[in-house]
Amino acid sequence: MSSILKIELRRAFINKIFLIALALGLCFAIAHLLVVVIPYGVGDAWAAWRTGTKGSYPFSVYNTWLGATGYSIFTTLYYFILPLIVCLPYADSLYMDITSGYAANVISRIGKTRYFAAKAIAVFLSAGIVAILPLVINFLTAALFVPLLMPDPLAGTFPVSPRSMFADLFYTAPIAYLCIFGMLTFVVAGIVACLCLVFSYLLANRFIVLIAPFLLCVISYFVLTGSGLAGYSPINLLIPAQFHHVQFDWVVAVYGTIAALSTAFIAWRAASYEAL
């Protein structure tokens, strides 16, 4: 690993704001466990099912963990603020480095391309980790209280309908389904945070640079909801409980285009970098 990448990763991860962002996400994940998962796992409903007095198919971890309970305030809030918390750890660092002059210090030692590449990788990875770690912790803890029963399409209680993206996978290999959503969350969170690198050149205020991707996600959430394409907004797209239908090839096309345009913009700015 190149020295500049190590330095950027260290700055991104060994960082109080990274811990604060992670703690924010964990607050929702833990609150969800305390309010939704544990009361169900140790409560009467589950106990009644074990004794055979409840209906045919109980809620399993696949419809009680954070990603499956779209009706829960914690799930709604977590996915709503996700585009903001993933930007917190390090996404504004390019803006800060350039405006303070620190970027010139580094670039004169390592060159433009490696500096910008290392910066983008560090921003992408820190955002991805902040996005998925609370989900992983929530899922694993939920699995301690609620069993991992194979989802049954006939039960009618699972948040994935036959028209949902990867529906077959959910009912045949649910862990694989969740892994795919984990990867999707990681990548989309990374892309959203990397938009701050683009905004670092378009906006002239650190705070606005930091919240611009979040505002963009919120605007897309309301605009797309009105146009029947709600599922493509990052706020809805990443929830494994799919209340809005999307097609995977369109997801790849939309987010791939955003990522490609962002990369091209950052590469252009890197090539034309001047410490004016």
């Binding site: 020295s3 500049i4 190590k6 330095i7 260290r10 700055r11 109080k16 303070s100 002059g101 620190y102 010139a104 210090n105 580094v106 670039i107 004169s108 030692r109 390592i110 060159g111 433009k112 001047e274 410490a275 004016l276």
Partner: protein
């Protein structure tokens, strides 16, 4: 000559900030740049380090054109206007992070350099808590710690007390003796004359004069 600047011109949004600058500078000497604010001193230093691209003309180091043969000078230390570091790191940590990029020096050299500029290497305060003078000293330490062949110092004695000024003078002389080329921009004419072997005058992006301190203006 180690550093050759040939007819260097830089235009930014229609304003010419460097206008046909031509200089030949050799190692083991200290060159001063004198001029009013906005005369182009800092911009010239940025062009030499490759941090801005010339509109026309060239900067060559040992015959290699910056921006064409090399992206940046291979061995350069810079202090440009206000020093910039990671605000939450200590002075030592900041220098260590930058030194880790090229891995030319270890912790001992950083330790020694900080002591030379009058900073305590074991100071646990983050950079943001440093006074202006301490920030300036750290900036100078950063520019010289890797003993580069080319050292560019823009207003190195800004915000320094008399002790700090003396330390900077001795550092400049030390690096001159080991054969580095030093280019210094400074508002204090007396200090610049004391430190420099030759002084160039700048106005409106052009070199308008040349003087050997103690000798005649050319």
């Amino acid at each position: 000559m180690y550093l050759e600047i040939d007819n260097l011109t830089k235009t930014i949004k229609g304003t010419t900030v460097l206008d046909g600058v031509t200089l030949s500078l050799e190692r083991g000497r200290v060159y001063g740049l004198r001029g009013k604010n906005g005369s182009g001193k800092t911009m010239l230093m940025r062009a030499i380090t490759g941090l801005i691209r010339p509109t026309s003309g060239t900067v060559a180091i040992e015959g290699k054109i910056i921006g064409k043969d090399e992206s940046f000078p291979p061995s350069v230390g810079i202090l440009l206007e206000n020093p910039a570091f990671v605000s939450k790191y200590t002075g030592f940590k900041n220098l260590q992070v930058l030194a880790d990029i090229q891995k030319n020096i270890g912790a001992e050299v950083i330790h020694e350099t900080l002591q030379k500029v009058g900073l305590d290497p074991s100071d646990k305060r983050p950079y943001r808590k440093y006074s202006l003078g301490m920030k300036q000293r750290l900036g100078i330490a950063c520019a010289v710690m890797e003993s580069p062949d080319l050292i560019l110092l823009d207003e190195p004695i800004n915000a320094l007390d008399p002790t700090g000024v003396d330390l900077v003078k001795s550092i400049i002389m030390e690096h001159k003796k080991r054969g580095a080329l030093l280019l210094i921009a400074c508002h204090d004419a007396q200090e610049l004359d004391y430190l420099s072997d030759e002084v160039y005058y700048m106005a409106e992006g052009r070199i308008t004069g040349h003087e050997v301190p103690g000798g005649d203006a050319l």
